[in-house]
């Protein structure tokens, strides 16, 4: 692997050569490296590009890294990854996609991730998207995440896209059984002419299932973001979604909630706040000696932290 690829790995997955636990590195559409452990099986799919990640029931404190990097221009990479989390397992999975596109053509990574979270299993899924390049080629990422959580299962998903992805459409669907919980924390910053669409569709099918979707984003320059959150309460359940966005320059943001209660005991809330940075926040930091620009940076860094 060359130095550009190693650098990407560090940015998206905090991997710097001494990774503990299981991992699978995919580079330019090919398997680059893989390591499995007693509790974590990783297998290449035979029908489609992609992998199956299988966590043994009851496995504790496992960590799995599955980064994808693209450093060639003109490449479209499509993968299907399935995550099978055994009953009662407790695992952290760090995914991420980094594109370094120096050429003039587009580089695209589309991932379709399907999660089967077992009974009382607990998973933390962390995904970072990052693009860079000095050519004029576009970096495109379209992740689809399909989540199924069995009774008492818990999934927390953190997604971050801070820079360099020109166009993204993220679709996440979830289906929750009795007592299951899904928490999604999304952080997004777009600039230039970028567009980013996020779409959630969560079905709270189980008794006492719950979800919390939290999105914090900043839209700069001429970028555009769209946040759609659909939550269906089909049982005694609670759902909350929150879109909090800062707009700057000519940035635009739409927040479109669709919450449907199909059961008298469903409790659903949507909150959205879009606006520029409050003037008094900037003034407060200026009274501490920061310039207006430094104040803006501090506010945005804190907001997306």
């Amino acid at each position: 692997m060359n130095s550009t690829e190693l650098e990407l790995l560090k940015i998206i997955a905090d991997m710097d050569g001494k990774t503990e636990g299981a991992y699978n590195i995919r580079a330019n559409g090919q398997l680059a490296d893989r390591h499995i452990t007693e509790n974590v099986e990783i297998r290449s799919k035979t029908d489609n590009p992609g992998i199956d990640i299988i966590i043994k029931p009851g496995a504790e404190n496992e960590t799995v890294h599955i980064p994808v990097i693209i450093s060639e221009t003109g490449l479209t990479d499509l993968v299907y990854n399935d995550f099978i989390i055994g009953d009662g397992a407790d695992v952290t999975i760090i995914a991420g996609c980094g594109i370094h596109n120096c050429g003039g053509e587009k580089a695209e990574h589309d991932g379709i991730h399907t999660f089967f979270v077992g009974k009382n299993a607990k998973i933390r899924y962390i995904e970072k998207h990052y693009g860079e390049g000095d050519g004029n080629g576009e970096n495109i990422m379209n992740p689809t995440t399909i989540i199924n959580i069995a009774e008492g299962g818990y999934m927390e998903m953190e997604t971050t896209q801070i820079k360099g992805v020109d166009s993204t459409k993220r679709v996440t669907t979830g289906r929750l059984a009795d007592g299951a919980t899904l928490i999604v924390k999304e952080k997004l910053m777009t600039h230039g002419k970028q567009t980013a669409e996020t779409e959630f569709k969560i079905d709270l099918d189980g008794e006492n299932s719950s979800t919390n979707l939290i999105s914090r984003s900043v839209a700069k320059d001429n970028s555009y973001q769209k946040f759609v959150s659909e939550i269906n309460g089909n049982n005694i359940c609670s759902g909350h979604s929150e879109c909090d966005a800062i707009i700057m320059d000519n940035g635009r943001v739409s927040a479109i909630p669709e919450i449907t209660a199909n059961n008298i005991d469903a409790s659903l809330i949507h909150e959205a706040a879009i606006g520029k940075i409050a003037g008094d926040q900037i003034i407060k930091l200026m009274t501490l000696g920061l310039t207006e620009k430094q104040a803006e940076e501090q506010i945005i860094n804190g907001f997306l932290k």
């Binding site: 930091l285 200026m286 000696g289 501090q298």
Partner: protein, 246 residues
């Protein structure tokens, strides 16, 4: 030395322009000064003009002889002016620790940051990693605001109604903070306040009413006249005086 020369400020309302400050002339040297007076008398406006948050219609502001009238908020902050807001600003994502570090202008050790919080009566460990948002009560935000000015330790510190939103139980602590600042700070402390206990520790009291300085002097000179004139409009003082006479 902070000097205000002929400072005037107008605000617009439905019936046209209203004079908020009329030709204010003040010299404030290294001391503990309390500005008091009726609500709407122009106190907060004056404090914001000193900090550079609003610009006067006319007049001049000098800090140690240097004309700072046209300087930005940032430039004034870097020359040694600090300002504690009457209504602290909320920040999503910025923690108390971040704020104290920004105020101090350097990376603070956890112990240093905790020390500033302890000074304003907050149990530091519970607060250091909290975000400065609406999950904190008004009184907590207020004390963090005061701690951020302490962390700056500049030559001029302005506090706009520090007592507002602080409960009676914590008020004693707040007085102790100001007493300590008065003893230890070599600089100028300007407090806008209605509270007799704060007026009581002042070296100088300035009474601002109707946009002008109606009186100015030591607390021995000013306090008795304030407490006697029930019609002065300074209700808090009048009420306190009445209670004490009962």
């Amino acid at each position: 030395m902070l000097e205000l020369k002929n400072i005037s400020f107008n605000a617009e309302n439905e019936s046209g322009e209203k004079e908020i400050l009329k030709n204010i002339n003040l010299k404030i040297d290294n001391s503990f000064v309390v500005i008091t007076g009726p609500n709407g008398g122009g106190k907060s406006t004056l404090a914001k003009i000193i900090a550079g948050i609003i610009a006067p219609v006319s007049g001049q502001i000098l800090l140690d002889g240097e004309d700072i009238t046209h300087m930005s908020v940032t430039e004034r902050a870097n020359r040694g002016i600090s300002f504690a807001f009457q209504q602290p600003v909320h920040f999503k994502g910025l923690t108390v620790y971040d704020m104290l570090g920004l105020a101090a202008g350097k990376k603070l050790g956890i112990n240093e940051a905790c020390d500033y919080l302890s000074q304003v009566g907050l149990c530091a460990r519970d607060y250091i990693n909290r975000e400065i948002n609406s999950s904190l009560s008004g009184g907590e935000l207020k004390r963090i605001e005061i701690a951020s000015v302490l962390a700056r330790s500049t030559k001029v510190s302005i506090f706009d109604e520090p007592e507002a939103g602080i409960d009676l139980w914590s008020f004693g602590n707040l007085i102790r903070v100001f007493e300590k600042m008065r003893k230890e700070s070599g600089g100028t402390i300007i407090i806008i306040s209605h509270q007799e206990r704060i007026l009581n520790i002042a070296d100088r009291i300035i009474v601002l009413g109707g946009g002008t300085v109606s009186s100015e002097g030591t607390k021995e000179e000013i306090l008795p006249q304030l407490l006697c004139t029930v019609d002065s409009g300074c209700r808090v003082l009048a009420d306190t005086a009445r209670e004490e006479n009962q």
